[in-house]
Symmetry: D2
Subunit: 168 residues, 4 copies
């Protein structure tokens, strides 16, 4: 049996903008259509919930990497629940477990995930981010940062990356 492809969709929880949630939802759908797993921080809010909702609507699997010692604050759309008990320190697991990391929206927690992705040489795509955010991350990790504007453009890059790296 083959290894599953895992695509992280990482972004804000409670304070996510409607635009970031819609983007996460569409990415979740698109990832599931490819037969890949959507991974998020697992909670019932914002982009985490939206990305996993999108994926499950397409019949896809989802992984929620949860911060608490139980799954009480899990999104109902997390079909596989990894319960860490590590609080925000679980963010590095989100990044390390994803073959590609897609960033929708921005917050302190999300910024820590982009930073960890850069530090661990992960493929990371900033989706529809403002210029200031892109400029900052380009400064601290120039080679790694890819930017896209749309779901289609993002998925094309992910497909190429998966194909070229023959992950599965």
């Amino acid at each position: 049996m083959k290894q599953k492809i895992i695509i992280g969709v990482l972004g804000p929880g409670e304070n996510a903008s409607p635009e970031a949630c819609e983007l996460a939802y569409q990415l979740g759908r698109s990832i599931a259509k490819e037969g890949w797993i959507v991974l998020t921080g697992g909670r019932e809010y914002g982009t985490m919930d939206a990305a996993m909702r999108g994926a499950t609507e397409e019949g896809g699997l989802t992984i929620g990497v949860l911060p608490l010692t139980n799954s009480r604050n899990s999104s109902p759309f997390a079909t596989i629940r990894i319960v860490t008990g590590l609080g925000s320190a679980r963010n590095s697991i989100n990044v390390l477990s994803s073959h590609v990391v897609l960033i929708c929206g921005m917050s302190a927690g999300t910024a820590s995930e982009v930073a960890v992705a850069i530090k661990s040489n992960k493929k990371v795509i900033l989706v529809n981010q403002d210029e200031q955010t892109v400029a900052f991350f380009r400064k601290i990790g120039p080679q790694r940062i890819i930017t896209t504007k749309t779901v289609e453009e993002t998925m094309a890059i992910v497909r190429d990356y998966v194909a070229m790296n023959q992950i599965a």
Copy 2:
């Protein structure tokens, strides 16, 4: 979409006995036949590898919760790879993410997982363990410890637990 049932099969890696590996393999097969996911510490040795090999032979999904910052030491039978970078501290994730924890064989790492399972009030089954081991864990966590001798007996208890707790 429903939450997946995750059953941890935890036991030694490099120094696992052939008996513990055979037990893990059979448990892996049986868990996969129920449509549940087998979770292990993910490495290419011992009971971890055996349990996931059994599960994948039955077409089941497997989760390997890996200690390093990459998946280089993963068993090929880990279809979903959670990359933690936490070393042995990832053992608590193995326990917390499993709806039921099955223990095959014994080692220092395995003992730490039984201890964490007791501490976090997880359903834990010591499968075919010697009297000394059972006596020790009964002393530090009397209510929680269930012991079984065979795969069939173990699976019957897991089935009852899953049904009664309506996890999925």
Copy 3:
């Protein structure tokens, strides 16, 4: 400036026996008299609190490695508070950061610390433990397990170990 010697005094919290607490207290005093730091799990209960109380009464420094994301549940006798936010996963830090690990009393959490100490090849001393406990840990980690009955005997072994390893 020299590296400080850190001696872990690990044992139960809420459910510690009076004997285990008295032992931890006396060990804490003795460690501080040597000019070494006492490290515990940091909380305001049981052996953790007792060991750090003993050390501070002798003017010693203490390190409490706390499980939560703040220090609200810290013992007042923790002079240096390491705030981990990792829950029980912080137990491996207790072990790894101690030059020698002394075990007073037994519980599920304590058993996980002995197991991690064995796994990571730490010098670990089971102080005044019953035969069943000693037998179990000897089985899973034969070379590593030292047993003592008294504070004096324990401290003599620690002194030798520190001198021979020229830690500071």
Copy 4:
């Protein structure tokens, strides 16, 4: 005995600029003169090493929160070595254990620490950072971000904060 004040001096390791190292060194000296402990990521490079060197030259205590499972890559100026085995996930311990977090220089790892500090509502001071960096962090955590240009200015703010919060 009183709780020790811990001030985190966080910044790049291998790729730290000479200016960031000099700043970290001076901050380390100043913190030690107050009788406070300097906390860093503990390694033998860059700002970590410089801050702890400064502190030890003034006779101060230093805490190095190390990423590996042993202290082999520790700075010699880390007088208290917390060995985590958590890799980059130890960054959140650096932040949570510091009463105030001072940021010297910038890198991916450092950015993750600023992000965690914002998320966990820690007092964080960006010392002598460029406008782009300040603007980015102000956007994701407006209330928390304090900026300073000099060691003196930074220490004045830290002194006020410690006094007003009566930490020790």
